[in-house]
Amino acid sequence: MNLGSIYRAQLKTTMAVQLQYRVSAIIWLIGLVIPPLVYLVVWRTVAEAGGGSVGSYDTAEFATYYIIVMVVNHLAFIWHMWEYDYRIREGVLSGLLLRPLHPIHADIAENLSYKALTTLVVIPAAILMSVLFKADWNVSLTNALFFIPAMIMAFFVQFFLGWALAMAAFWTTRINAINRMYFLGKLFLSGQMAPLALLPPALQTAASISPYRWMISFPVELLLGNLMLREIWIGLAVQVLWIGIGLLAVKFVWRAGIRRYSAFGA
C-alpha cells in the first residue's frame, strides 16, 4: 500500500467521523471567529476615535486584515498539543504505534480532511464578516499566487513545530501550561492581536525572529499587498527554514519520546 492510498483512507474515515459531530463543528466555528472579531472591533474603535485610521490601517483595512487572519489561522492551526497528553495517558498511542507507518501521517491526513470540511463553514463566515464590517478587498493576482505557497508552508511551519511541542506529553502529563505559553506567544507575535506593523519595533523584530510571524502574519501581509517582492522571497525562504527546523525537531523529539513511552508502558 502506498502513502497516497493511506492518506485517502484516512481522509475518508476522518470525514465520516467529522460528519458525526456537526454540532461541535459549529461550536468550534464560534471559537475561531471570536478572537479576530474582538481585535477587529477594538482597533476599529481606536481608528474611529483617531480620525479614521491607525498607522496605515483604516477601518476597512482592519476588517480585511482580521478576516484574512481568521482564514489563515483556520487553515494552519493544529490541535495535537492538546491531544497527545490524552493519547499517552490513556494508551491510545500504543494502537497507533502498531500501524506500519509513522503516526504523523495519520495526523496530517486527519488535519487536512478536517480543514477541507470545515472550510465550507469558514468561507461563509468570512463573507458575512466582510459584509458586516465593510471590508476592503483589493488583492492583486501576483499576491494571490504567492499566497498559495506561503499559506501551505505556514501550515507546515505550525504543524511540525506544534507536533514537536505535543511530544512534551511524553515527559510531563500536565502540558497545558506549556501549550498556553506557546499560544500566548502566538497571539502576540503572529499578528493575531494586532497587525505586526502596529507593534513597537522591538516586538516586530522578535516576531520576525520567532517562527510565529511565518505561521500567520506573513501570508496575511503578503495577500494585503504590504510586502515588496524581495520581502516575499525572503519570507518564503524563512518559512522553508522553519519547516526544516520543525522536521528535525519532530524527528528527534519523537525518537526520544517514544523510547520513554515504551519504558513506562511496560
Partner: protein, 261 residues
C-alpha cells in the same frame, strides 16, 4: 453534612493533590504572568495609538483587566474543571459514583475538582485591580465597595449558572466539551468593555454568554460608571439564572440513565 463542609473538603482535596505537584505552582505563576503580560501588552499597544477606548481611560481598563483575570481565575479554579470532569463522567458512565453519594448532586458536581494553583490568577487579578484604582486616584467609599461586591456576586452566580446549563446538555449530547471552548473564547472578549462592540455582539455578550455581567458591570461599579438600572438588572438575571439552571439540572439528572442501565 453542611454544604460549606462539602465545599471545604473538596478544596482541601484539591490542595492536597496539587501539593504533590508543587512545580505546577511555578508553572502556573509563569503562565499567569505571561497572560498578564499579554493583557497589559495589548493595552499598551492600543493606548499607544489612542487616549481613550470607547470612553474608558487606560486606568479604567486596568481595573477591568484585573477583574477579568480575577473572575477568570475563579472559573478556571473550580467551575471549569468540575464541569469538565462532570461531562467526562456522563460520557463514561462514571457519574453513577457521584449520584450515589448522599448529598446534593449539583453541589458535588460543581465543586468536585479544584485546581488550586489557579488561585494565582485570583490574587493577581486583585492586585491589578488595586493598582488600577490607585492610579485612578479614586476615593472608594463603602457605597462603591458594596455595589462592586454585589455586582461581583451576581456576575459569579450568572457565570456559574451559565456553565451548569451548558454542561447539563451533556446528558443529551456527546462531545459537549467543545462548548466550553465557546465560553473560553468568548471570555477573551470580556477583556474589553462590552460597550465598544456592535449591537448584536454586545447583546450576545450580555444575555447569551453573560460575560458583560461577570466583568464589565463590576468594573463599572468600581469605577463609578454603573447605573442603578444595570445593577438591578444584574441582580434579577442572577436570581433567574440560578433558579433556571437548578431546574434544568434536575430535568437532566432524571434523564440520565447510568452506565449499566
Amino acid at each position: 453534612m453542611s454544604y460549606l463542609r462539602i465545599i471545604w473538603i473538596y478544596f482541601r482535596l484539591g490542595i492536597l493533590s496539587e501539593l504533590e505537584y508543587r512545580a505546577n505552582f511555578f508553572v502556573q505563576l509563569l503562565e499567569s504572568l505571561l497572560g498578564l503580560a499579554v493583557a497589559l501588552g495589548g493595552l499598551a499597544v492600543v493606548f499607544n495609538h489612542t487616549d481613550t477606548l470607547g470612553g474608558w481611560l487606560p486606568e479604567h481598563l486596568l481595573v477591568l483587566v484585573g477583574i477579568h483575570i480575577h473572575v477568570g481565575g475563579i472559573i478556571n479554579m473550580v467551575i471549569s474543571p468540575s464541569m469538565q470532569r462532570f461531562m467526562e463522567d456522563v460520557r463514561k458512565g462514571t457519574l453513577d459514583f457521584t449520584i450515589i453519594k448522599p448529598a446534593d448532586s449539583q453541589l458535588l458536581v460543581s465543586v468536585q475538582r479544584v485546581e488550586i494553583w489557579k488561585l494565582v490568577d485570583v490574587v493577581l487579578g486583585l492586585v491589578v485591580m488595586v493598582v488600577g484604582m490607585v492610579r485612578l486616584r479614586a476615593a472608594i467609599g463603602w457605597g462603591e465597595t458594596a455595589v462592586f461586591l454585589l455586582a461581583m456576586f451576581c456576575g459569579a452566580a450568572i457565570v456559574y449558572s451559565f456553565y451548569l446549563i451548558l454542561s447539563t446538555f451533556s446528558f443529551w449530547f456527546v462531545k459537549v466539551e467543545n462548548i466550553l471552548v465557546i465560553f473560553q473564547s468568548m471570555y477573551q472578549a470580556g477583556r474589553w468593555p462590552v460597550g465598544i462592540y456592535p449591537d448584536w455582539l454586545r447583546f450576545t455578550l450580555t444575555f447569551l454568554v453573560p460575560i458583560a455581567f461577570a466583568v464589565t458591570v463590576p468594573a463599572e461599579g468600581l469605577t463609578g460608571q454603573l447605573t442603578p438600572q444595570t445593577l438591578w438588572l444584574a441582580v434579577g438575571i442572577a436570581a433567574m439564572m440560578l433558579i433556571s439552571s437548578r431546574t434544568f439540572w434536575k430535568i437532566g439528572i432524571k434523564y440520565y440513565s447510568g452506565a449499566s442501565a
